[in-house]
Amino acid sequence: MKKYYGSVSADLAAVDGRKRLNMDKIMTVLCFVLLMIIVVIPIVMIIYNAFFNEGKLEVEMFVQQVTEKKNLDAMKNTLVIALLTTILGTIMGVFYAWLLGRSDIPAKGLMRALFNIPYMFPPFLGAMAWDMMFNGRSGYINKWLVQLFGLKSMPININSVWGIVFVEVSYYFPFVFMQVVSALERMDPTLEESARISGARQRQVIWKITLPLVKPAISAGALLILTTSLAHFGVPAILGYAKRIYTLPTRIYAVIYNSGGSFDGIRQGAALSVMLVVVVSAALILQNRILAAGSYDIIKGKSMRPTLIKLRGAKLPLFLLAILTLVLIVIVPLVMIVLISFLKAYGLPLELKNFTLDQYKAVFSMGGTIDSIRNSLFVSITAGIICMFLGTLVAYVVQKIKPKGKGALEVISMLPYAIPGTVLSIGVILAWSGRIAGINLYNTIWIILVAYLARYLSFSMKTSSAALLQVHSSLEEASRVCGASHTESLADITLPLIRPAMVSGFFLIFLPAMREVTTSILLYGPHTRTLGVQIYTLRDAGMIPQAAALATVAIGIIIILNTIVTKLTRDRKGV
């Protein structure tokens, strides 16, 4: 019998043990320090500045801000818009999920892909498009309708609470739709079949069995809509300003913008931020309660194709309705933006003789445009890469090393998830404009990067965490027994196994960061506009066709990136 090792001295073993302990410790400490810098400091700064001024407790400003009528109105609008969006988005999401998941409606695969499109695009571009069509004063379709029917006033005004709700619903219903479709697909079909055998008609089965069973998926999606809408900036900013309809995020922006970025303005913003965080946290607590209460196991048994419900006579009308919805929420806004981007001047009729490519030339000859694309690519890729590694590090510490402060670590890394982008920006401004250790990042690209890191870290941490949980400990143990040390097993087995999750974590950050506007709108400086900010400010300055041209380019970039991502994720073999 051969032996490759001979006797290994006991000391060597002990040394290995100590070394490993140290590496684990270093990783843990690194985690805490980085999270402290990225997440904790900005949040502490907001709370501190909302209640303290120059080291002294000063609540007057806070009380004055939260009792001011304008701010209370904004709070009311925020809640009304969020609730309406949630209710309508949920109904729409469930309806289409059922239609695609359970009925024999044709062209399912295609429709499913199309229904996910709104998820890809930034809602503020949609808001721009709808504003072009149904603006209360100058909307193209409004004007056309007035001409056609000889009306005295514009028939539809998108610059209203209902208008905001409509646009938000069309972009947020996929949250519910995707959750419910996948729940329906994984559901054991015998749960429904046994109800048929018990004597229930198809309609009764839907109401009494199917819907109650997917209720957890519905509420998960609905609460996601609620929290997202509460914190949302783009749509109310674009549609609401004209009529002075403010929500808390837009109000915070207005306060800071109007004060010209003065410290007082930022402090007022901090006070409003506390208000917004309270509302969002309440929604998140609600979410945790509801999700913890109702989760059942509906996926067991042999896999069988579910019996599809025959729509018979209703098939064609429902199919047309679905197509119409898709056209309305996906195609129409895109076409509108593209059309406007070719106009010589905003307001001219949409006729071929008014079309030109000059707007594209103008946009790209403008100083900021190329910069903004470069900036967006730079911050998005950098934030994506840093978050990918940092998130995996935190996930590894939490899942595998399990140090003493593991709970706190998890909470801290997830915290920014509960904090609206606008609020995070204020925290970052307060923290990194020279008040701590003399570090002043204001007006540089780095401040945007820091804000992105805080905002998106939880994304990559979640995906890496889930992947690490999938790596059964026996896989690592097997490699130890095969002669690999702790570090080697990590490098040879664990990391390669979670690499796909890390990559998708990267894209999960990179894609939304590319179209981001909420956070960067408060942080940009003269030379550090992002793509989203550039479109927003062009439009704000009245250069609507140019904004549309850049938006068209942005949409093109997003479509290309998405295609690449889908290709990459599909081609990955194994695992």
Partner: protein
């Protein structure tokens, strides 16, 4: 006794993308009597589940007719198809299919609520059903907090609460552990005696089917092989497949010469058996390892020796050469032979089948891919 379930020339064809047409169920004819427990037994892909789903009404049929309790429910010719909820059946599924959002009471009450039975009657009948399934006291518990066995009892209670004449059981015991399987089997039989419903029991487990059924149907590759009582099926299987499927089998290939059966590759000693009159030149003698008697060499039988002795928990297994082949013999531990020891094997009433059919094996392999 009246026939409760009648299948006339029932056929189901699927078209698959990769393998073309598959006849899942090919011309099934059967009659189940009232109060009978009838099993569909066969390997996966034999058509048993499809047949059950056609009876339940979850699948339409391609040809033929199904009659339940004297009423036509599916007929291709008359273009008739009764919805599953209107067939008046009880059914229990492999994965329990109890609704996790309802407590035990509501699960069982559901069929009655659908029928709009009045409240006092619901309480009475549900309690009765729970009593018969030993679930009394668990009314307010949710299924997620119960064991697999208890969940399957809820499904049973839900199925009997409407007092159906026909009960369809789709592998109801497969998700339970072996000990529980036996108890549940007894409980199902007890319920049947009490409520006198007709059972169709689908399973791939032959010993379970034999323990529970009055009659059973063995099918393979979409065709009925044999319908009979468990004892007749086990003792007189009509072909080699049924023999092998119903229990551990051991086969000897023989060559018939001068009215005697010689094990293949062994010309000196013939088997100590009368050869059936219609035997062809090559046959297969089929028997079961525990139906072969093993004795010392002087007591008749086929003289040979012990090649290998394997000790199993509840019996000893011997491999005994018969010609070129190794015969598997199982005896209680009390019968002991050493490896190499001379002995004799006695086959007790074996079955005779024609020699192997390679085509059937090929078809089976093709179907496994579906």
């Amino acid at each position: 006794m009246a026939d409760q379930i009648v299948l006339n020339h029932v056929t189901k064809r699927f078209t698959t993308k990769t393998l073309g047409d598959i006849v899942a169920v090919d011309d099934f004819n059967l009659n189940d009597h009232e109060g009978e427990c009838f099993s569909f037994l066969g390997p996966s892909g034999c058509g048993k589940s499809t047949t059950l789903r056609m009876i339940a009404g979850f699948e339409d049929l391609t040809e033929g007719e199904i009659e339940l309790c004297g009423r036509l429910v599916s007929s291709r010719k008359k273009n008739l198809y009764v919805q599953p909820e209107d067939r008046g059946l009880g059914m229990v599924f492999q994965a329990f299919a109890v609704w996790p959002h309802m407590n035990v009471f509501e699960n069982v009450a559901f069929p009655l609520r659908i029928q709009k039975v009045n409240k006092t009657d619901i309480v009475k009948r549900v309690n009765e059903a729970l009593h018969h399934t030993s679930l009394t006291g668990l009314e307010n518990v949710f299924p997620g907090d119960l064991s697999g066995g208890q969940q399957q009892r809820i499904a049973l209670a839900r199925a009997i609460v409407t007092n159906p004449k026909v009960m369809l059981l789709d592998e109801p015991l497969s998700n339970l552990d072996p000990k529980l399987r036996e108890t549940m089997r007894f409980e199902i039989k007890a319920l049947q005696r009490k409520f006198n419903f007709t059972i169709i029991f689908v399973t791939h487990d032959q010993s379970e089917a034999m323990a529970i059924s009055d009659r059973m149907m063995v099918c393979d590759m979409g065709k009925i092989m044999q319908i009979d009582t468990p004892e007749n099926l086990y003792n007189k299987p009509c072909n080699r497949f049924v023999h092998n499927f119903l229990g551990e089998s051991t086969f000897i290939n023989v060559v018939i010469r001068d009215g005697k059966a010689y094990p293949k590759g062994h010309t000196e000693q013939a088997l100590d058996l009368p050869v059936p009159v219609n035997a062809s030149a090559e046959m297969v003698v089929a028997t079961r390892p525990n139906e072969i008697a093993l004795t010392g060499p002087g007591e008749g039988g086929f003289a040979t020796h012990i090649e290998k002795r394997i000790f199993l928990t509840d019996r000893t297994e011997y491999l005994v050469p018969v010609g070129e082949q190794l015969l598997k013999v199982q005896t209680p531990h009390r019968v002991t032979f050493a490896e190499g020891e001379a002995c004799a094997v006695h086959l007790v009433e074996p079955m005779w089948y024609p020699a192997d059919d390679a085509a059937a094996e090929k078809e089976r392999a093709r179907r496994q891919l579906v």
